[in-house]
């Protein structure tokens, strides 16, 4: 549930509160869990207005260990966060730092300022995970968190589905999510601010991390399963990031296409598309191919729910390793060896050139591909500030800056150097930018 997408009125909330009676005696585990759930206040930078601005938001989180690791959503705490303030169950506030984030699974890991905790003699507990593979539809589930800032709110429902598929190319602050995992679905009320809080069983064991809901729907909430969360937590705690492999296959579900491809049911993965220039494209794979096995293991991609685990299988391989694919194309069976690359987001790094009144995002390969750019050269303009040189020159949001003073902008650093030169010795600066493949020239004047 993103805080930014769903807006419910206080009246509706009030109604729900009265229809959620707590009648069972609270278990010790549940009580302990409540002391491990925190409210997270985030102050973060935004780059979309031609200058660095700050916004504030509220989310939830759950403490995982005695050394103060807190799990929350990537859309609550991202690298844009400049201040993370955690409110413990005791209502005491402690600062925290970002350990790492993974937008693909919408998870982020924070660490409490333990020195401060110790100095102030604060207490907290930590939560335990349950085995999310053993969950069943209809099982009671409680969402705990800070909806709309209402600290320590518990709502109740059931697990509605244990293996929901949905992927969103811009779901986490413009970053991709959901390609490598399925989600738990629940009807426990999840509202803006619940994000990052745990979905727990009656003993307070974490089944998943509440993440999102459908806009305009009632009680269609989604959580990252505990099993996936545990793996991500381990990776983030160790390296601060999750490294994944990429070969550029875009799968589609086979559904009723088996007969067309003369396949036995429950065999094969349909290749809907192959990203141009990707390792799979270079190796020769094409849209319409059927992958029969990956590194010798048969694959079954009949239903959409089956795709994330297969994607994850490839993503989990070491970067630079060789994947052996057996592929059916028409009557032929072909063998391919594809060398993986590191998976990159379509969302590039953002930056503000404040004296130009210009904020940009590095063009990624995926962005270039989607927008028919020849390569990933350039910076996408995501904001211009009225009255500043970029706006005065006529640059607009959506333009891609490809050259500054005749120099090709292949990296953010090249642009930063040009900016430093401008700030040290202001002089008219020639900018080449394109919009919808139309190339124009602009002058940034001091």
């Amino acid at each position: 549930m993103t805080r930014k997408t769903l807006r419910l009125t206080a009246l509706v909330l009030g109604l729900w509160a009265t229809s959620t009676p707590v009648h069972a005696a609270m278990s010790r585990g549940f009580n302990r869990l409540l002391d491990a759930v925190v409210r997270i206040d985030v102050r973060e930078e935004t780059f979309d207005s031609g200058a660095i601005r700050f916004t504030g938001s509220i989310g939830s989180g759950v403490i995982l260990s005695d050394d103060g690791l807190i799990l929350t959503n990537a859309h609550v705490a991202s690298p844009r966060a400049v201040e993370l303030s955690v409110t413990l169950a005791s209502l005491e506030r402690v600062n925290a730092t970002l350990v790492g984030w993974d937008h693909w699974t919408d998870l982020a890991l924070l660490r409490l300022d333990l020195a401060e905790v110790k100095r102030r003699g604060l207490k907290f507990t930590h939560a335990e995970f349950t085995d999310s593979d053993k969950l069943y539809p209809g099982e009671t589930a409680y969402a705990v968190g800070t909806p709309f800032g209402l600290t320590r709110t518990v709502t109740r429902g059931v697990i509605s589905n244990v293996r929901r598929y949905f992927a969103d190319n811009r779901g986490v602050e413009g970053y991709e999510t959901g390609l490598f995992n399925t989600w738990l679905q629940t009807d426990a009320s999840i509202n803006p601010g619940n994000s990052g809080g745990p979905l727990v069983d009656e003993d307070g064991r974490v089944m998943g991390i509440n993440s999102r809901g459908y806009l305009g729907a009632e009680n269609l909430g989604f959580a990252i399963p505990a099993k996936i969360a545990q793996r991500i937590v381990a990776g983030l705690a160790k390296d601060g990031r999750i490294t994944r492999s990429y070969i550029g296959l875009v799968p589609g579900s086979l559904l009723d296409l088996e007969s067309f491809y003369a396949l036995k049911q429950n065999t094969g993965l349909l290749v809907n598309s192959v990203d141009p220039g990707s390792p799979a494209a270079v190796a020769g794979l094409r849209g319409g191919d059927i992958v029969l096995s990956i590194n010798g293991a048969p694959v079954d991609g009949r239903f959409p729910e089956q795709l994330p685990p297969i994607q994850n299988l490839i993503a989990s391989l070491p970067v630079g390793s060789t994947v052996k694919l057996v592929v059916k194309r028409g009557e032929q069976t072909l063998n391919y060896a594809v060398v993986t690359e590191e998976l990159k987001s379509r969302q590039g790094e953002e930056w503000a050139f404040e004296k130009w009144g210009l904020t940009v995002r590095k063009v990624s390969r995926a962005y270039a591909r989607e927008n028919q750019l020849t390569d990933d050269t350039g910076l996408l303009v995501i904001g211009v500030q009225p009255g500043f040189p970029a706006a005065v020159a006529g640059l607009n949001r959506g333009d891609v800056v490809t050259k500054i003073n005749q120099q090709s902008i292949t990296s953010l650093d090249t642009a930063k150097k040009a900016y430093v030169a401008f700030t040290e010795k202001p002089a008219p600066t020639l900018v080449e930018a394109q919009s919808d493949r139309q190339v124009s020239l602009y002058i940034l004047k001091p």
Partner: protein, 470 residues
């Protein structure tokens, strides 16, 4: 009818000599108006699509004594195929709209953008070409505050009743043709504009809007652009448009169309021109040089800046965008095979190029197409422009484009959308339009077919679509 014209003209001229000027003004305008109404008509035609037939009604002027009528550029969408244009009807202003004359579409002139129509013989005698009102010696450019006038036409339900419009000149500028802007609407778009004494002064242009603020209960002062589609305050001067009158297309597609292949010409503002030390002239950036084009053959490179044509520097216009129209006109004025000498700025170097213009590759509106009603799709030939949009090299061009997809039809339900590129049908590549049509026709004709499979491409990503037929 015919008699009246001849009998009244000498009388009017005599009248003008005898009476003081002020008195002429009051008296002769209705007479001049009656004469000149004979050079305007209303034209109705239908654009036929897969599902419907939409009427368009517009005004047109009479260009010559052969019944040639001219309609303004914007009246037909550039993607509409000439075979979709049906049933041209010509109405005389103020005559009952139940009476009309048939006409045929002749095509669009690439330079002026004008659409030419020819009306059946029996009406021709009742029409007077606007050229009949052209001054014998070159007309002076309109002076500020001078009065000009023209004709407006009411709508069809009012029998296209002609009415008088007039306005005073506010200013004259180059867009790139010399164009006058008046203080008030002075003619319907596409109809002639006259001087006070009835000489042809130009042709009114549509497409100019004015910005207003819109206030409502909930919103305060939202800027909106309003465009008067029935009347215009802007006209291209007779000096620019008179030579266009004779540009009647010799083919319905307006061919030949001179083509350079410099894609995405973009103007520059004076600051950029000053930075590039261009002085008081301007230039246009070539966004991309298209594959296999005259520009490429001449050695033009992406991002070259065209600064001169035939040794003449690209003038500076206001607004800057006019420089692009200027260059496009320079190309379209010429014929395929003509030499086109250019000076480009590449980095800080000036390079002289000579391109040999070619005929424009087949346009989208010229592409062959076929509608498969049962499947719910119209496919068309993959033309050069499709390759440009999709960054496909001419050598790799294949397949067909979905030109139309019917809602809730088998292919629509399968997820096909207009402009999708169809690469394979039933797992085999379709190399040509003919191949694709043959395959789809066979599928459509086969009553036992339950489904078929398409491999399509959209935004650089392919997708396999299963189309269920039953």
């Amino acid at each position: 009818m015919k008699f009246r014209i001849h009998s009244r003209l000498p009388a009017l001229l005599l009248f003008a000599f005898l009476v003081p000027l002020a008195a002429v003004r009051a008296a002769d305008l209705p007479a001049l108006f009656q004469e000149r109404v004979k050079s305007v008509v209303a034209v109705e035609f239908f654009i036929e699509t897969e599902l419907d037939r939409r009427p368009t009604v517009t005004s047109a002027f009479v260009a010559d004594a052969n019944g040639t009528l001219v309609m303004v550029p914007g009246v037909i969408d550039g993607r509409v195929q000439s075979s979709q244009l049906k049933d041209f009807r010509v109405y005389l202003p103020g005559k009952p709209a139940s009476e009309f004359f048939h006409a045929v579409y002749l095509g669009q002139d690439p330079l002026s953008g004008w659409h030419f129509v020819r009306v059946e013989e029996k009406l021709r005698a009742q029409l007077t070409p606007v050229t009949a009102f052209a001054a014998t010696s070159a007309l002076a450019e309109p002076a500020m505050a001078d009065d000009y006038w023209g004709i407006g036409l009411r709508r069809k339900d009012e029998d296209f009743l002609p009415y008088f419009l007039s306005g005073r000149i506010s200013n004259v500028q180059s867009l790139p043709e010399r164009t006058a802007i008046a203080l008030a609407e002075l003619a319907a778009p596409g109809l002639p504009v006259f001087t006070r004494d009835g000489s042809l002064a130009g042709v009114a242009l549509g497409g100019f809007g004015s910005t207003y603020l819109q206030f409502s209960r909930s919103e305060r002062g939202t800027p909106v652009m309003l465009m008067n589609v029935e009347e215009s305050r802007v006209f291209q001067l007779v000096g620019a448009v008179l030579p266009w009158m004779s540009r009647v297309p010799t083919s319905i597609n307006g061919r030949p169309i001179a083509w350079l292949g410099a894609y995405g010409l973009q103007p520059m503002d004076p600051e950029v021109a000053a930075f590039l030390k261009l002085g008081n002239q301007s230039g246009c950036v070539v966004s991309e040089v298209l594959a296999d084009s005259p520009a490429q053959a001449a050695g033009m490179k992406d991002r070259d800046i065209i600064v001169a044509v035939d040794g003449r520097p690209v003038p500076r216009f206001t607004p800057d965008q006019v420089a692009v129209s200027y260059l496009e006109r320079e190309i379209l004025k010429r014929k395929p095979g003509d030499k086109f000498p250019l000076t480009v700025l590449r980095g800080s170097e000036r390079v002289e190029l000579v391109a040999t213009l070619a005929d424009q590759p087949k346009l989208q509106r010229e592409a062959d197409r076929k509608y498969f009603e049962k499947l719910g799709v119209t496919v068309r030939d993959f033309v050069y422009g499709d390759g440009v949009m999709r960054r496909v090299k001419p050598a790799d061009q294949r397949g067909v484009i979905a030109n139309f997809v019917k809602n809730n039809s088998p292919v629509g339900t399968a997820g096909l959308r207009p402009d999708d590129w169809i690469l394979e049908v039933d797992g085999t590549e379709v190399k040509t339009y003919a191949e694709a049509v043959a395959k789809l026709a066979a599928i459509e004709a086969d009553a036992t077919r339950t489904d078929f499979v398409l491999l399509t491409s959209r935004n650089n990503a392919t997708a396999v679509l299963r189309v269920k037929l039953k």
